[in-house]
């Protein structure tokens, strides 16, 4: 017999865990299927992206305003971009395709977003980790100077990406303009996100403007942890945390608001 609704916290957490686990498997199977390498694509795809960008920048000898090896620069920069940029991409319009799922009472809009965000986070993280290992073992870069700072920066960037993803995902269900505008916005933000420059290499005015973009702080922090002694990293974790907090509140309110207007199929 299916369980009678219970309202204790433990019971609710159990349901939550079950729903997320079921959604994760479903999402992985739907997205990657069982053909060729299956769910390995989860991190192979971002790895190919990062490797491609690294190769391109190396070949064109991109100027980035420091004497860092270009490989290290591309790895930290592009991996961070993938982390925060892919989450909104996957959450925008996510409800539309999954309205049928909403007939199951235990599945909430937030669960659908959470499952997709977890997958994106896992993909980007495994890719970043494996590539770092490859480059370190191959001798192209040295190991991170401060692993904990890298991890903290990575998690903060992921938090920001997740909050952005949920907010945009929820709003996109009501306003299709969100979907239309996100694509150009994500491309335009890429060169501004700190992936392709060091803040310290910018003129003071540009530096000031660029530091209003939260993700710049994340990338700078990753680089500080990776090779802090070789560059001058400029960032403020407090700013990134404040932005993420505000965005999280907005995301939760938007999700609740959208859920009220949802009609399952």
């Amino acid at each position: 017999m299916a369980s009678v609704p219970q309202h204790s916290l433990i019971a609710s957490l159990k349901v939550q865990r079950r729903v997320l686990a079921a959604l994760l498997v479903r999402e992985l199977l739907t997205r990657y299927g069982r053909h060729n390498i299956g769910f390995l694509w989860l991190f192979v795809e971002p790895m190919i992206f990062t490797l491609g960008v690294t190769a391109l920048w190396t070949a064109t000898k991109s100027v980035h305003g420091s004497d860092l090896p270009i490989v290290a620069f591309a790895l930290t920069g592009y991996s961070s971009v993938l982390l925060w940029r892919n989450m909104p991409g996957r959450c925008i319009g996510a409800l539309m395709g999954n309205l049928a799922l909403m007939s199951h009472r235990n599945i909430r809009a937030l669960d659908i977003y959470a499952a997709r965000i977890i997958i994106e986070f896992a993909g980007a993280t495994i890719s970043f980790f494996s590539l770092s290992l490859m480059f370190i073992l191959g001798g192209w870069i040295s190991p991170p100077e401060d692993f904990l700072t890298v991890a903290a920066a990575w998690l903060l960037t992921a938090w920001f990406g997740a909050a952005l993803a949920i907010a945009l995902g929820a709003l996109s269900h009501e306003y299709e303009l969100v979907d239309k505008l996100w694509h150009p916005a994500s491309y335009l933000l890429f060169p501004l996100s700190g992936a392709a420059f060091l803040v310290s290499a910018l003129p003071p005015l540009a530096r000031e403007i660029v530091l209003y973009i939260p993700v710049v702080h994340g990338v700078e922090m990753v680089r500080d942890g990776y090779f802090g002694s070789k560059v001058e990293a400029i960032y403020d974790p407090g700013y990134l945390i404040t932005c993420s907090l505000v965005l999280t509140v907005i995301a939760l309110i938007a999700t609740r608001w959208v859920e009220k207007r949802l009609t399952p199929q």
């Binding site: 017999m1 739907t30 199951h104």
Partner: protein, 472 residues
């Protein structure tokens, strides 16, 4: 127990908020099976989604102290890239059940064979329905919400579904919505009617059903714009579909079928007559009308109805024995051949009673046809164009300055008259309906109006029959 307390639901539409449910309250206890009647769009599905918790009410509260299923609708909510097995595993995980045990059940119940391991997008709609039902049976709920089970096609599977639901799980609470009142009567022990956002409970099916029919009558009926089909069989086929979409028509024939089953022939006859008055070309009910008229000894009417059914394409093989049995054949009137359509142009097809009524009104302005006259015309060989030519000939041409009757009887007996008969006229003669109605409204001669609207094209009507009108 499920308690629905003063629940309202509004949807936003382009023209402002629309209130679908307005202050609805009821409770559902274990063992109660609530059948909800209501016309299309009355809010039945909305109510079931609210009770399931998939959607939230605009105001009011719904409390559940038992486990409640998701709405078992039979399209099936599947991820179509995933296989049947994946979908079973997903639901099992979601409801903390043993996937392997469930898989064995679904394999046995849905009879999908190897297809269970194929992506759902390759399934036929019947296979999807079977998988959906099997999946909804793997989780044991205290209360099942059922949205139109009767829609599942295959009769054998339907029977197994009913056994699983109402026999094996007969002790559970259920809430069922269906278009088929008979289904609700047989499977529920409480009933309710949703209309204009309000829910009215009934402990007695007949009372609920009477209210339902009363609501249906006051509502607007589905009206088909007559498409200018050149082939009659195509027109009859599409008119049958239109009739089946019309809830008022379906309610009437179900009522008549029920009366027929308890041998209340008079009640059945008046039900079929009223139904055919709404959709005079639904041929299978002409056959039913023949049967119930025959049972009452109204042999002329029975023969009219049988011959009309055959003229509209019911199998002659099946109805010929009935016609032979009641036909009063003698030396003056030997057994007349039974006419059936051949799929060609409408003007070349045999006429049924509604055609005779329409053409009589056109030629003479009479709004009712005597049974004997009608039967004589039905027995006499000839297609509709011949019938019209004969009528005009006997009448000495169209009546000059004839005003067509507002409504005519298109079913024998004392049925109410049908105001929409001009649509039937347009369809029969192949005229463009709107042009014809406009021309008639301007007071044009009926035949001139028909010609102007493209009607009677190619009909073999003797010129003198028509010119008679001009010279007269």
């Amino acid at each position: 127990m499920i308690t629905v307390d003063r629940v309202s639901k509004e949807y936003r539409t382009r023209t402002g908020p629309k209130r679908v449910l307005d202050d609805v309250s009821f409770t559902l206890e274990k063992g109660e099976r609530l059948g909800v009647l209501g016309r299309n769009g009355a809010g039945k599905s909305t109510l079931i989604r609210l009770v399931s918790g998939a959607e939230r009410p605009t105001s009011g509260r719904i409390t559940r102290t038992m486990s409640v299923s998701w709405p078992l609708a039979f399209g099936g909510a599947f991820q179509s890239q995933l296989t049947g097995v994946d979908n079973v595993r997903f639901i099992s995980r979601l409801y903390a059940q043993d996937p392997d045990h469930n898989l064995a059940f679904v394999e046995e119940f849905a009879e999908l064979g190897q297809y269970l391991r194929e992506p759902v997008m390759h399934y036929s709609s019947g296979m999807r329905a079977r998988l959906a039902f099997a999946i909804s049976m793997i989780i044991e709920f205290d209360c099942f919400l059922i949205d139109e089970v009767a829609a599942v096609g295959d009769a054998r599977f339907h029977e197994r579904c009913n056994y699983e639901l109402f026999d094996k799980r007969g002790d559970r609470a259920m809430m069922i919505i269906s278009h088929d009142p008979g289904y609700l009567r047989d499977h529920c022990n409480r009933w309710a009617l949703i209309d204009a956002g309000q829910l009215t409970p009934f402990d007695d099916f007949e009372a609920a059903h009477d209210h339902f029919l009363a609501k249906m009558r006051v509502g607007e009926t589905v009206r088909a714009v007559a498409q200018p089909f050149s082939r009659r069989m195509a027109a009859i086929d599409s008119l049958r579909r239109v009739a089946h979409e019309d809830e008022q028509f379906m309610a009437l024939v179900r009522q008549a079928d029920a009366a027929r089953d308890r041998h209340d022939w008079a009640e059945a006859e008046s039900g079929y007559t009223a139904a055919l008055n709404l959709h005079p070309y639904e041929r299978s009910y002409w056959a039913q009308l023949g049967h119930v008229a025959r049972e009452q000894g109204r042999l002329v009417r029975a023969e009219i109805a049988y011959r009309t059914a055959c003229a509209f394409g019911e199998p002659v093989r099946l109805l010929a024995p009935f016609i032979a049995a009641i036909e009063q054949a003698d030396s003056v009137n030997p057994h007349a051949p039974i006419a059936s359509p051949d799929g060609g142009d409408t003007r070349r097809q045999p006429a049924g009673y509604p055609d005779l009524a329409v053409m009589t009104a056109l030629a003479t302005g009479h709004d009712r046809l005597a049974d004997d006259t009608a039967l004589a015309m039905l027995r006499r060989p000839g297609a509709v164009e011949d019938v019209l030519a004969r009528m005009l000939e006997e009448h000495g041409g169209p009546t000059p300055r004839l005003t067509l009757p507002g409504a005519i009887a298109v079913v024998p007996g004392d049925a109410p008259k049908r105001p929409e008969w001009r649509e039937d006229l347009a369809r029969l003669t192949g005229a463009r309906q709107e042009e014809l109605l406009a021309a008639l409204a301007l007071g044009e001669e009926p035949f001139a109006a028909l010609r102007r609207a493209g009607g009677l094209d190619g009909w073999a009507i003797p010129e003198n029959a028509l010119t008679g009108a001009v010279s007269a």
